[in-house]
C-alpha cells in the first residue's frame, strides 16, 4: 500500500513539531496500551520524522491507542505523541473504503449495558 502521505501531511494534520522530542521514552513508559502496540508512542515520533509513514499506517497500533492523553500530559517537551497517532489514523480512515469499523459492525457488538458513548466513540475513531 503506497499512500503518498508524507511527513509534512502528518505534521500538518497533527500540529505536532517532532523536533522537540528528546527521546526520553516517557510517553511509551506511561502508555497503558504499550503491550498491545507494535509501534509505541515514542516510535511514532521518530518514524513520522523519518518519513516511515506507510509502516505506521499499515500497523494495528493506530487502533490500540486508547486516546487517554497520558503520553501527551507526561511529555516533558510537550511533543503530544497522541496527536501523531490520531493524525496517522485519520490519514488511513479518510481514504475511500478504509473505515476500520462501520455502523454495520455495531449490532454484532451490542451488549445490554453498553453505553451509547462507546458506540459514538468508535464511530468517531474508526470511521469517516
Amino acid at each position: 500500500m503506497s499512500n503518498n502521505i508524507t511527513t509534512e501531511d502528518i505534521l500538518r494534520i497533527s500540529g505536532v513539531d517532532t523536533r522537540k522530542c528528546m527521546f526520553c521514552g516517557k510517553c511509551s513508559g506511561t502508555c497503558p496500551a504499550f503491550d498491545e502496540m507494535e509501534y509505541h508512542p515514542h516510535q511514532f515520533v521518530y518514524m513520522v520524522q523519518w518519513g516511515m509513514i506507510d509502516k505506521l499506517m499499515e500497523s494495528k497500533s493506530i487502533y490500540k491507542c486508547l486516546t487517554c492523553f497520558a503520553c501527551l500530559e507526561r511529555c516533558p517537551r510537550n511533543v503530544q505523541p497522541a496527536k501523531l497517532i490520531e493524525a496517522v489514523r485519520q490519514a488511513v480512515i479518510r481514504q475511500q473504503g478504509m473505515n476500520h469499523m462501520t455502523e454495520n459492525d455495531i449490532p454484532g457488538l451490542l451488549e445490554d449495558k453498553l453505553p451509547q458513548q462507546a458506540i459514538v466513540s468508535a464511530m468517531r475513531k474508526y470511521k469517516k
Binding site: 500538518r12 494534520i13 497533527s14 500540529g15 497503558p32 496500551a33 503491550d35 498491545e36 487502533y63 490500540k64 486508547l66 486516546t67 487517554c68 492523553f69 497520558a70 501527551l72 500530559e73 497522541a82 496527536k83 490520531e86 493524525a87 485519520q90 476500520h100 469499523m101 457488538l109 451488549e111 449495558k113 453498553l114 453505553p115 451509547q116 458513548q117 462507546a118 458506540i119 459514538v120 466513540s121 468508535a122 468517531r124 475513531k125 474508526y126
Partner: protein, 266 residues
C-alpha cells in the same frame, strides 16, 4: 445559580441514573439546571486532528446556546465535558477554526469561546462548596471506603481541562469526605480504563480494568465511583479477576442528601 445543562446522549439512555440523581441533588442544593434546547451529541471523542471542523460543530452550537442565555454550560458526563471544554478552548485560540466554524454556522453574532464550561463536580466545589454539602448531608456514608476513579477525560490535558492536579487530584476525594465517607487513594485512579477499546479489543479493556480494580481493592476500597458512563460500563462489565461495586457519584450524593426519604415522607 442557573446553568445551561448539557446531558449528552448516554445520560438520556444507559446512564439515566447519572442524570436523574444529578438533577435531583442539584435541585436540593439550590442549583437550577436548564437543559439546552435541541442539543446535539458532542461525538464523545475530542477531534484531535487540527484540520477537523465539522466534528466540532455540535459542541459549538451548545456553547453558543449557553452564551445566548448568559449562563455557564454545565456538563456531567466526563466525555461531554472533555469535548465541549476543549472545543471551547479551540474557539478561544484557533483563528482558523473560528473563521471556518462561524462562516458555516452563520450565528447572529460569531461565537468566540465566550461561554464557560463547568463540570458538575466543579460546580459542587466552586459554587456550592464542599463545606455546605457537608452541612446539607442527612445520611453521611460513615465508614464506607470509596475509591474515586478519575480516568483520563476530566484531567488531561491539564493545560486545557484545568480540572484539578492531573497527577494528584483531590476533588472527588473531597467530595467523598463531604458526604461522610472515607476516600481511598490508589495508584490507578487517573489511568485509563480502556474506554471505547472494549468494542475493538475486549481483552485489552479487561486487562486495564483488572489493574484498576485490583489497585483500588489493595488499598482497601469497598466501592468505586465515577462520573463517566463508559468507565462505569468498563469497570463493571470488563472486570474478570477482581470486582468491586461501581456507582455514579451523583447516586451517592443523592443518598447522602436524604432526598428519597424526604420525598417519601412528604
Amino acid at each position: 445559580m442557573t446553568y445551561s445543562y448539557y446531558p449528552g446522549c448516554t445520560l438520556k439512555t444507559k446512564a439515566k441514573d447519572l442524570d436523574r440523581y444529578g438533577r435531583l441533588s442539584a435541585e436540593a442544593l439550590g442549583v437550577t439546571l436548564e437543559e439546552i434546547e435541541n442539543w446535539q451529541c458532542c461525538g464523545a471523542v475530542y477531534p484531535q486532528a487540527s484540520d477537523e471542523i465539522a466534528t466540532k460543530l455540535s459542541a459549538i452550537r451548545a456553547l453558543d446556546a449557553a452564551k445566548g442565555k448568559g449562563q455557564k454550560l454545565l456538563t456531567l458526563c466526563s466525555a461531554c465535558h472533555h469535548v465541549i471544554k476543549r472545543v471551547n478552548h479551540d474557539m478561544q485560540t484557533d483563528d482558523n477554526l473560528r473563521l471556518k466554524a462561524n462562516n458555516y454556522l452563520k450565528l447572529d453574532e460569531p461565537y468566540l469561546g465566550e461561554a464557560e464550561v463547568v463540570h458538575y463536580l466543579e460546580m459542587l466545589r466552586d459554587e456550592v462548596g464542599f463545606d455546605n454539602i457537608k452541612k446539607a448531608v442527612k445520611n453521611p456514608l460513615k465508614g464506607v471506603k470509596i475509591a474515586a476513579y478519575y480516568g483520563c477525560l476530566l484531567l488531561r490535558p491539564s493545560g486545557v481541562m484545568a480540572f484539578d492536579n492531573p497527577e494528584c487530584p483531590t476533588i472527588i476525594e473531597d467530595f467523598i469526605k463531604a458526604i461522610g465517607a472515607t476516600p481511598v487513594i490508589y495508584s490507578q485512579r487517573n489511568e485509563c480504563c480502556g474506554g471505547y477499546i472494549s468494542l475493538e479489543d475486549k481483552p485489552q479493556a479487561q486487562k486495564r480494568v483488572d489493574a484498576i480494580v485490583k489497585s483500588a481493592m489493595d488499598a482497601g476500597a469497598e466501592m468505586i465511583i465515577t462520573a463517566c458512563p463508559l468507565c462505569m460500563y468498563n469497570l463493571d462489565a470488563n472486570a474478570t479477576e477482581h470486582r468491586l461495586p461501581v456507582k455514579y457519584f451523583t447516586e451517592l450524593l443523592y443518598q447522602a442528601l436524604g432526598i428519597e426519604e424526604e420525598k417519601e415522607g412528604a
